[in-house]
Every structure is written in C-alpha cells, then in structure tokens.
C-alpha cells in the first residue's frame, strides 16, 4: 500500500515536471481552505460575495503571476515590467475598440500584439543581459518599467479612460446570494487562458521544447531544440497572459489608467512567491489564495484597513520567503559548491 503510494507519487513527480509535483500536505491544506470558504459562504451572504469577488480578482493576480513564473522559468529573470506591459497592452485594446473593433475582436487582436511585443523584448533587451548578473537583468526590466509607463502616458495621457464592459452589468442570483456576472466572466476567461497555456506546454511538441529549453538549455540545444526561439516564445506567452490579466483587471477597476497594474503586480509577486517562483500551478493557486484572503482580511480584520493591503500581501511574501523559500509547490534549489 505504502509502496504503491510512493510509486504513484514518483509518477506524479516525473510526469508533472512542468507542474512542480504536487505534494500531499499542500493539497490537504488547499482542500481545508476550500472547505472553510464553502462553509463560510453558506453561512453568510457577504462572505460568499467577498469570496467570489476575491476569486475573480485572484484569477487576475494568478494570471500575471503565471506570466512572471513563465519568464522566470525561461530566462531566470524576474520581470518587474510585467505589470506595465500588461497595462500597455490593455491600452492597445482600448485603442482598437475606439477604432471600431468589437470588444472580443480587440481582445484577440491584443493578445496577438502582446505576443509579438513579448518576443521582441526578449530578443532585443533581455538576451544581452540574461547571463550577466541578476542585478543587470533586474535593472533592465526596471528601465523597461519606467519606459513603458512613460510611453503610455505620452500616447494616451494619464486621465481615466473607459472601455465597454465585456460582460454587461447583469447580476446572477446564486442560492439567494447576488453575484455580478462580471466576476464569473473574469474567472472564466482567466482559467480558460491558463488551461490553454498548460495544454500547450503539456501536449504539444512546442511545449515540450520550451520546457526542455527552460530546464536544460545546453542539453536541449544538443538534441535540436532551438533554445533561443523557445525562450523568446516563453516571453511572448507571458506577455499574452499579462494582457489577459490587464484586460480582465480593467473591468474590475471600472476605469483604465496608467497605474492600473501597479498594485496588481505587487499581489502577483506575492502570489508567485507563495506558489513557488518556478511553479506555474503554484502561481495560479497562489493568485487565488492572495485574492480571496486579501478580500476577506480587509473586511473581517479591523486593524488591517484597505491601505494596508499591499503591505499585507508583502508580509505574506516575506513570510513565505523566510519560512519556505520554495513556496507551496516550488522545488528547492540545490546549489553545487
């Protein structure tokens, strides 16, 4: 029995290289958390609304966190500009809609543009500094942060912009609790994008190549994987996920402004670290966890008011780094002396 369980675990580990290998204590923890949320939601209407809203926002954080994780896995760079890129692509969608495209036409066109943008940035800016030092790479993305912010302010100005709502203003009645259609829409769009990216990595040859290039660049080059291309595509996919996050964050904030993604980047960092910086599944779970807990904590813990949201998220981040740097799902980095 024990042996069977171990071998199953081994199987999971080897099969789920891209997923970082789910370990039982963590799944128990997650099941318990989900049960707690369910019980709370059944007992209180406000709790249920906050939970659903938190999950929807958390999906957005998770999507951006997944973008960070993809970039980190591909190039070992933490992209501080990821949020600003997401914001910029959201402005692109705004412009396309203004030019007469429908919301969903603009949505898909924006994703294509984001992909191109991400690939170009990897080739032009990241590749030269990638192997130099952590500090050099961080500073390049910091420069990109300032640059993108400036460009968007320059082209579109800093004032509020409004986009049509993709999901209307309909409100559903779920077992006596009223919940906006928006939140289901956000959750749905993000989860579908995440699933598609997962399927790409899991079931296609391209995905296999990308995983190989990220984990063992030299060996994959030997067996004929175009490592450079794979890393660039990784950045492109990350930009696409970022764009999804931006496009879904906009309706939740109701306005589009250049600082749209700055707080969200903060939560996405916390989510990525909570899940484990090299674990895609961890990023999504981490995002949902951060989204729900922020929403509930601000409502139910009187001493943490909404201005303490960002410090709270970062207290989580620092706590995770100190107690378990590999996060919930990440693998421990083993360094050879």
């Amino acid at each position: 029995m024990a042996a069977a369980a171990t071998s199953r675990l081994e199987g999971l580990r080897s099969r789920g290289a891209a997923l970082g290998g789910v370990i039982p204590p963590v799944s128990l923890l997650l099941v318990a958390a989900a049960a707690g949320l369910l019980v709370g939601s059944l007992r209180s209407e406000v709790f249920a609304q906050l939970t659903v809203q938190g999950l929807a926002l958390g999906a957005v954080y998770g999507s951006l966190a997944l973008a960070l994780v993809l970039v980190y896995r591909a190039t070992h760079v933490v992209n501080f500009a990821q949020g600003e890129l997401a914001m910029a692509t959201t402005y692109v969608a705004y412009q396309l809609i203004k030019w007469g495209l429908s919301y969903w036409e603009a949505f898909f066109a924006t994703l294509a543009i984001a992909f191109a943008l991400g690939t170009v940035l990897e080739v032009a800016l990241v590749r030269p500094v990638q192997h130099r030092s952590v500090i050099a790479a961080v500073i390049v993305t910091v420069g990109l942060f300032i640059l993108v912010d400036g460009v968007v302010n320059w082209i579109w100005g800093g004032d509020f912009k409004y986009m049509p709502s993709p999901f209307g203003t309909k409100v559903y009645d779920v077992g006596g609790v009223s919940i906006a259609r928006l939140y289901f829409g956000m959750l749905g769009v993000v989860l579908i994008s995440v699933l598609l990216v997962w399927a790409l990595f899991r079931f296609t040859k391209l995905g296999l190549g990308m995983r190989a290039a990220a984990l063992r660049p030299a060996e994959s080059a030997l067996v004929g994987v175009r490592v450079d291309w794979m890393l660039a595509i990784g950045w492109g996919l990350a930009a696409v996920l970022g764009a999804v996050a931006g496009l879904m964050a906009e309706p939740s904030q109701f306005v589009l402004e250049p600082t749209l993604m700055q707080p969200i980047l903060v939560y996405a960092f916390a989510a990525a670290v909570l899940g484990g910086l090299d674990s895609p599944a961890g990023a999504v779970v981490g995002g949902l966890a951060i989204g729900v807990s922020l929403n509930l904590v601000v409502q139910y813990v009187p001493s943490i008011s909404s201005e303490l949201q960002a410090p709270f998220a970062f207290a989580v981040l620092v706590g995770v780094l100190l107690l378990k740097p590999s996060g919930l799902f990440g693998r421990r980095e083993v360094r050879r002396v």
Partner: protein, 311 residues
C-alpha cells in the same frame, strides 16, 4: 602615496568645482546640484550594499523614508536642530538596516530583490496607518525650512564626509570581507569571515547612508515629508543610479547620482518630447541603453579609458 596621488588630485578638483558652483549658478541650478548631492549619498550607500557585498536591494527608498520622517517628526514635535536630526536619521536607519539585514541573511539574488521590493512598497504605507504620529497622507512638516544654498552646502558636506567614511571602511579589513562575501560566500566563510556579521553590517551602513539622504530629501521638498514622495519609483531610481555608477566602485557614484538627479529635469526641457511623460520615456530608454552598452556602468568606462590611456 604615489598610487594615491591621482585619486587625491581628482578629489581635490571635484571638491573645488563643487565649492565654486554656487557662485556661478542660478538658484534653480543650485537646487538641482543639491538634488544630485542627495542622490550621491543614497547611491553611495546602496553601492556599499549591492556593489561591494553583492546583496541587491530595491528597497532603499524605504530607508530614505525612515530618515526623512525622522527629520520631519523631530523638527515638528521637538524643534530639534536639523543637522542633529540627520545624525539621528543616520543612527536610526543604521539600526533598522541591521534588523532588516537579519532576515535578508536567508535570501539572495532574485528573492532578496523581491523581499526588499516589499519594503519599498510597504514602508510608505505605514504613515497612512499611524496617521496621528506620522501625519497620514498629508505628511509632516518640519518646523523650519532651509534655503537652496544651505541645502547645497549640507548635501555636499554630507557627501564628502560619507564618501571619506566609505573609502576608509572599504579599503581595510571590512571592505575586504565585503568583497570576499560578494565573490564567493563559501570561500569567505572558509577564510574565517563571519558571514552574518558582515552581511548585516553592510545592510546597516548602507541603510544609514540612505537615512541621511532621506533627511536631506525632505529638506529639499520644503521640509515636507509625505508618503507619495517615497514611492517605489524612488527605490528604483536609486538602484538605477548604482548600476549606472558601476557596482563595486566609488568613483562612478558621481556619474550615477548625476544620471538620476539630472536626467529627468534635463530631458523635460528637450523639445518634441519635452512633456512630463517624455521625461520617463527618455529616462527609461537611457537606463536600458546604459545597461546594454555599459555593462559595468560609468566606473567600467573609466577603467577602460584608463587602460586605453596607458596603452
């Protein structure tokens, strides 16, 4: 002595030029030059941490905030002498830096970058929480304000003192230990260097420098300390300054400070892009270009020129 001669001569020249500047510049430019002095102190401090011990920090704006609020609160509530508040900022930030350095012992590289980014985001939010003591969003105002000239003098005097202090610290035993930690922690430990002592010490010194810079920074904004001034962007600017200066060198710091202190103002007066936002475009592209073209920053360029001159 011969080896030190070029260094001493260039120091004297730079010092002379700095002493003469206020007599030739307009009030606006004196204020700008004071601004550069403030960044000089902060970038110098960050360079000790990131350049000499290899610990990246994207959170030095937080230490500046602590130093700045020390000055503002002490001046408002107790009418303390402003120079004295700078010394207090130095001491308080030194202690806070040591405390931050302790958890940082467990982190390195990207993870340390993220954790210090947390400081940059979190600390400026604290005045909103404890608003009776720290003034909330409206900030705290010092009881007296200073002239541009006073600020210029204070900033560059502090720069000179702290530069000499940094040089003294870094040239001896401590500096050698710092560099050993940066180059290989394991080799450093094997040679008998107490890793925790030196890593936290570097954090403390570096935070203390940032504290003094924060103190001056508040005086430069008419003695007004508010959360928005110490946003994430400030921390990012300091890191950019340290990188442009060249990590692990004291000589480039002037260039790094001038880069972050002057470029935004200079580029907003350039035609075509001369709007508020064009400034960020220029600054951002400059950062990226410098990192791509001058991997070792200005100090690397200097070293290359020196080699070229000798050959």
């Amino acid at each position: 002595m011969r080896r030190l001669l070029p260094a001493i001569v260039s120091l004297l020249v730079v010092g002379g030029v700095l002493a003469g500047l206020p007599f030739t510049l307009s009030a606006y430019h004196v204020a700008l030059a004071a601004q550069v002095g403030i960044y000089f102190v902060a970038v110098l401090g960050l360079n000790i941490l990131t350049g000499y011990t290899g610990q990246i920090s994207i959170g030095h704006g937080a230490f500046m905030a602590i130093g700045g609020y020390t000055t503002a609160v002490m001046s408002q509530d107790h009418h303390t002498n402003l120079v004295l508040t700078m010394l207090m900022a130095f001491a308080i930030c030194f202690v806070v830096g040591l405390l931050v350095g302790l958890p940082a012992l467990r982190l390195s590289g990207v993870y340390l970058a993220l954790a210090t980014f947390a400081l940059a985001v979190g600390v400026p939010q604290l005045p909103l929480k404890w608003s009776t003591f720290l003034g909330g969003r409206d900030g705290v105002q010092t009881s007296q304000t200073v002239s541009h000239l006073w600020l210029y003098g204070a900033a560059w005097t502090a720069s000179a003192i702290l530069f000499v202090l940094a040089w003294l610290v870094l040239r001896g035993r401590i500096g050698r230990a710092f560099r050993a930690v940066r180059d290989s922690e394991i080799a450093a430990v094997a040679s008998g260097i107490e890793l925790p002592v030196y890593k936290t010490l570097a954090f403390g010194i570096s935070a203390a420098y940032a504290g003094v810079a924060g103190s001056l920074f508040v005086l430069a904004t008419n003695g007004f300390a508010a959360p928005d001034e110490f946003g994430v962007i400030l921390s990012l600017q300091l890191l950019v300054g340290a990188a442009v200066a060249g990590l692990g060198s004291l000589w480039g710091v002037l260039a790094g400070a001038a880069f972050v202190g002057l470029l935004p103002s200079v580029s907003s007066s350039v035609p075509v892009i001369g709007s508020d936002h064009g400034r960020d475009v220029v600054f951002g592209s400059a950062v990226v270009l410098v990192m791509l073209l001058l991997p070792d920053g200005f100090a690397g360029l200097l070293a290359r020129l020196r080699r070229f001159a000798r050959a």
